[in-house]
Amino acid sequence: MLEVHQVNAFYGEFHALKDISFLVEEGEVVVFLGANGHGKSTLLKTICGLIPSSTGHIKFHGTTISNLPMHKIVEIGVVYIPEEKHLFPDLTVKENLLLGAYNKRARKERENSYQFVYGLFPRLEERQHQIASTLSGGERQMLAIGRGLMSHARLMAIDEPSVGLAPIVKTEVFHKIIEINQQQGLTIILVEQEVESSLAISRKGFVMKDGRIVLEDESKNLTIDLIQKQYLV
């Protein structure tokens, strides 16, 4: 469903992505691993339209989405959940979710989407009238994922959902990601530092170094030793 072909991207002068190519099939979870600053987040931002790609193309269900404006990409069905969350701090939980369903496709399904998100994260329903800045770290991550789900996307790109969370909350977040993938059939691209857990929930794994994909295989063939020894110095 997603085809990334020979993509290059720059941060000013810095060559952040070098000839990236890979495929993601409908309904699968893939994970990008690697140390910080090696292009994983840049890759997600480029797919979702936050950073332009200079060469190469990105296709989603046959439609070229590279360098489309971001609101068009969301409308086509790709949603990005950034590591920094970018929630709206002074809006309530419910208003944050409401805006998640801003695109035309999602607006019609809004009431059902609330039900689904509240079913998945009952905490958000309890706190629906609180403003987002009063939430805990774990709740913020849930809201970020919930807001993404409201968009009725078919592909969700999640950037380090477990960062900064307590171990028990991390496990919960990973469980929710599996649940979303299995219940909704949502395709998921994950960027993570938690090698073991993310390999456990994904089908394919990619390792990035210096803006290139240096290793790719089925997750079951990738072991933590192999990755850590060679790439996560």
Binding site: L50, I81, K85, F88, L91, L98, L99, Y102, R147, S151
Partner: protein, 307 residues
């Protein structure tokens, strides 16, 4: 004995009333001014809140609102309200075009802060001179919305002032409901809180920036119509109102709707008192002193989140 020289019973102490009467009158005119000032500066606040820029053409939009009404009403003899609405709609559309062709292309560039000042300042000058060229330099006046006045005891208030308050309060209330209760209004608040977040959820920023510009110009136009009977219509009025609106907005806190509202009423009341006890000449210096004073204590203004 509580009897006056003429032998009529006086129900209150005249000594106290002599002090109280002008005081209450000043409060009433303060509220009227506050209502006008709130309308006048709300557009500026919206643009700053959503788009993080100062619109120096805001004053020009205000007096163009007056010009249009003058033109359609006094010159073309259309209905008063139709003239005002026509002018406001034209301003709304014009501002959207301005955004599309002048501001939108430079918005993503790194030095938008300074380039937006140049563009809107230039626009203000062009609009001011266009007013001179098209309508002539003579000062224009528009009739009042309503003639006559209401008398309650010793107090009188003109129907014009009552209408001004009613229209301002009605429109500001409508604006508040729009920002709180509608999806678009919520999206505007979202943009002001996190622009990247707004992009992530799929909000078309360009479209809403343009809409905000239109909305702000429409609010400016309405305040122009309300101001016209009080201050006349002439190009220099644009700069004067812009100056006042800028002080109101900074005093209340940049981008804060609540701050603008409260600061408009505080400064309106201050103006009424200063002009009653010290004279009109002292109004602007006093505003300025109060603003500087507040900025000393609260550098971001009364309710500001951005410095």
């Amino acid at each position: 004995m509580h009897e006056s020289v003429q032998g009529k019973a006086v129900p209150y102490d005249t000594g106290t009333m002599k002090i109280l009467f002008p005081f209450l009158n000043a409060i009433i005119s303060g509220v009227i001014l506050g209502a006008i000032y709130a309308m006048m500066s709300m557009g500026l606040t919206l643009i700053y809140g959503v788009g993080r820029m100062f619109n120096f053409a805001h004053g020009a939009f205000i007096f163009w609102g007056g010009y249009f009404t003058w033109f359609f009403y006094s010159q073309s003899h259309l209905d008063y309200f139709l003239s005002a609405i026509l002018g406001i709609v034209i301003l709304f559309c014009f501002a959207i075009l301005v955004d599309k062709f002048t501001l939108s292309p430079i918005r993503k560039k790194p030095d938008f802060g300074i380039t937006s000042v140049l563009v809107t300042l230039g626009l203000a000058i062009v609009l001011g001179n266009a007013g001179d060229v098209i309508f002539g330099t003579r000062i224009k006046t528009i009739n009042k919305i309503a003639e006559g006045f209401l008398r309650i005891g010793d107090f009188t208030i003109t129907y014009q002032d009552l209408a001004t308050i009613a229209i301002s309060v009605g429109i500001l209330l409508g604006l508040e409901i729009f920002l709180r209760k509608t999806t678009i209004g919520t999206a505007l608040r979202a943009i002001s809180q996190d622009t990247v977040g707004a992009q992530i959820v799929g909000i078309n920023l360009d479209r809403l920036f343009a809409f905000t510009m239109g909305l702000s110009a429409a609010l400016a136009g309405i305040s122009g119509v309300l101001l016209a009977p009080k201050f006349f219509i002439a190009p220099y009025v644009g700069w004067e109102t812009l100056f006042k609106a800028v002080i109101i907005v900074i005093f209340g806190g940049l981008g804060s709707v609540k701050g603008t509202l409260i600061s408009a009423f505080i400064l309106g009341t201050l103006e009424a008192f200063v002009s009653m006890y010290l004279g009109m000449f002292w109004v602007q210096p006093m505003w300025f002193i109060l603003m500087v004073g507040v900025l000393f204590v609260k550098p971001k203004g009364l309710f500001g989140e951005w410095a």
